[in-house]
């Protein structure tokens, strides 16, 4: 038996060394590569050629003011097809696909039997399939979970030959609009819509969505064309490459949870306050994995809740820091850092639900010191999604 055959039998096994389609491009652009989700990825860029000058704060600000190009090709792109695909997905995801039209995208959650979050993901309806985008670090486990639970007449294709780029920021539309041709004008692609376009003859699927809180696009294209398109976009005066560091600070400001930090199997959609990920029409009827726990939490309230915290002073509180109300330990920080836009530290934490009300004054312990923090609505920085004129 050849090794190739073995791989065919065990397609869920994560390869030991994975190289992103844009690996060489990142290095040429001055990317400082770090290990992430099984790949080498740019944490930030450096060099004289960069209009933003390089570095997390500069890249963060550039994205808030202009447009940033993020390589998110580490994420898993999956196609689910077959006559029973819709019903089979609805048995796994708390999503109402009857209201998801062709060309629309929706946020959903992959839950285990106990309602624990295995991943968060995007689902789009294509004419003859469902297209899923899942997190990079979890994609192999997601694929194994889906394969285990999808019936035999439903096919899962892992689109490993596709790259994924995100173009984010208030000037993203202007830059992209100069290049695309599509089934309809780019201006008609509103937030959470999804369509087929071409740039210079390269076919691609583009959704109006992202992970920064800004207007922007996520572009799925053949891996072989990724370098050409990334280069073409970065020549635009509005566009610069942005690394993982700024991606994290941008999503934190936008109040968006990061899987593996703010979400994991020990969390559930109700505690995580991701109710928009639970279709209203199916919250009571159920029929999806994890429903029993979620229904109980919805009826009785969850013991803990994910909250935003504004931290006093300049010292950031990081993941793992314990949250106190007086002497009582009431929670834990799951993401935290300095907000470049706001100029002060912010954090996400899970706290006992009695302490989750806006304005509640708490303390976070950092290196044996207590930092004052107040529960603050998220997003910390207003979002800027394009929902049409």
């Amino acid at each position: 038996m050849s090794e190739d055959t073995l791989e065919d039998i065990h397609p869920d096994d994560m390869p030991e060394e994975q190289v992103l389609p844009l690996d060489a491009w990142h290095r040429a652009m001055g990317g400082r590569m770090v290990d992430f989700a099984g790949y080498k990825m740019p944490i930030q860029y450096a060099g004289e050629h960069l209009k933003h000058g390089g570095g997390i704060v500069a890249e963060h600000s550039w994205t808030r003011e202009h447009a940033g190009l993020f390589d998110v090709s580490h994420m898993g792109q999956l196609l689910i097809s077959g006559a029973g695909a819709e019903a089979a997905l609805e048995a796994l995801l708390p999503i109402d696909l009857s209201t998801l039209e062709v060309g629309m995208q929706r946020y959903s959650l992959l839950l285990n039997e106990d309602g624990g979050v295995l991943d968060d993901l995007m689902v789009s309806r294509w004419p003859d399939a469902f297209y899923l985008v899942v997190n990079g670090a979890t994609k192999w486990d997601d694929i194994a979970h889906l394969r285990e639970h999808l019936p035999d007449d439903v096919t899962l294709n892992h689109l490993e030959d596709r790259a994924l780029l995100a173009l984010q920021g208030p000037e993203a539309f202007a830059a992209l609009d100069r290049h695309v041709e599509g089934e309809y004008p780019l201006s008609a692609l509103v937030f959470m819509k999804f369509g087929h376009f071409t740039i210079g003859g390269v076919g691609m699927s583009i959704s109006r969505s992202g992970y920064t809180g800004e207007d922007g696009f996520e572009i799925s294209l053949p891996a072989a064309d990724a370098e050409k398109i990334a280069t073409l976009l970065c020549v635009e005066p509005e566009v610069e490459p942005i690394g993982l560091g700024a991606r994290d600070s941008l999503r934190l400001e936008a109040g968006l949870p990061l899987y593996g930090h703010d979400l994991d199997p020990a969390t559930d959609p109700v505690s995580a306050r991701l109710l928009f990920g639970l279709a209203k029409s199916r919250r009571e009827t159920g029929g999806w994995m994890g429903h029993v726990t979620c229904a109980k939490m919805l009826a009785e309230g969850s013991p803990t809740k994910r909250v935003g915290l504004k931290v006093e002073g300049k010292m950031p509180a990081r993941e793992g820091a314990i949250v106190f109300a007086g002497d009582t330990e009431i929670g834990r920080v799951t993401s935290g850092g300095f907000s470049p836009t706001l100029g002060y530290p912010i954090a996400m934490a899970y706290v006992l639900s009695d302490y989750a009300q806006k304005g509640t004054e708490l303390e976070i312990e950092v290196r044996k010191k207590r930092l004052e923090a107040a529960v603050t609505p998220m997003p910390f920085v207003p979002t800027n999604y394009y929902r049409g004129e």
Binding site: I43, Q44, G55, I56, V57, A58, H60, G245, D248, S249, K314, M315, P316, R318, G337, F338, P340, P345, R367
Partner: protein, 123 residues
């Protein structure tokens, strides 16, 4: 005045009985944008190789170690309002703290500028 370097990327300037400590240009470059520096209290005793300060970049917190044993006599107050001084002037205005020299022989194990340059080139 003599300047020494540690393999943890701190520098130490020795002038008479006191020394000034900071982090190197290489270190600030690796850390990226610095948003907060936590300095040791004046009067605190720091031990060679032990935790002395914490530098927070946007992405992470990192320890700064004491190059030698001694007592902290001053912290750089400028860093409170402008922690980015560590990025813009790491080896001058962005110094962290001044300390007494408990044991001059501890300096012997540190690198000089040339040795440190060679050390960084290998990284």
């Amino acid at each position: 005045m003599a300047r020494y370097f540690t393999d943890e990327h701190e520098w130490i300037d020795v002038e008479g009985d006191t020394a000034t400590v900071g982090i190197t240009d290489y270190a600030q470059e690796q850390l990226g944008d610095i948003v907060f520096v936590e300095l040791p209290e004046v009067g605190a005793t720091v031990d060679k190789g032990g935790d002395a300060a914490v530098v927070e970049s946007v992405k992470a917190a990192s320890d700064v170690y004491a190059p030698i044993t001694g007592e902290v006599v001053e912290g750089n107050a400028s860093l409170e309002d402008d922690p980015a001084l560590v990025n813009t002037s790491p080896e001058e205005d962005g110094w962290f703290f001044k300390m007494t020299i408990g044991d001059k022989s501890e300096l012997d194990g540190l690198m000089d500028a040339k040795a440190y340059e060679a050390f960084v080139a290998e990284l």
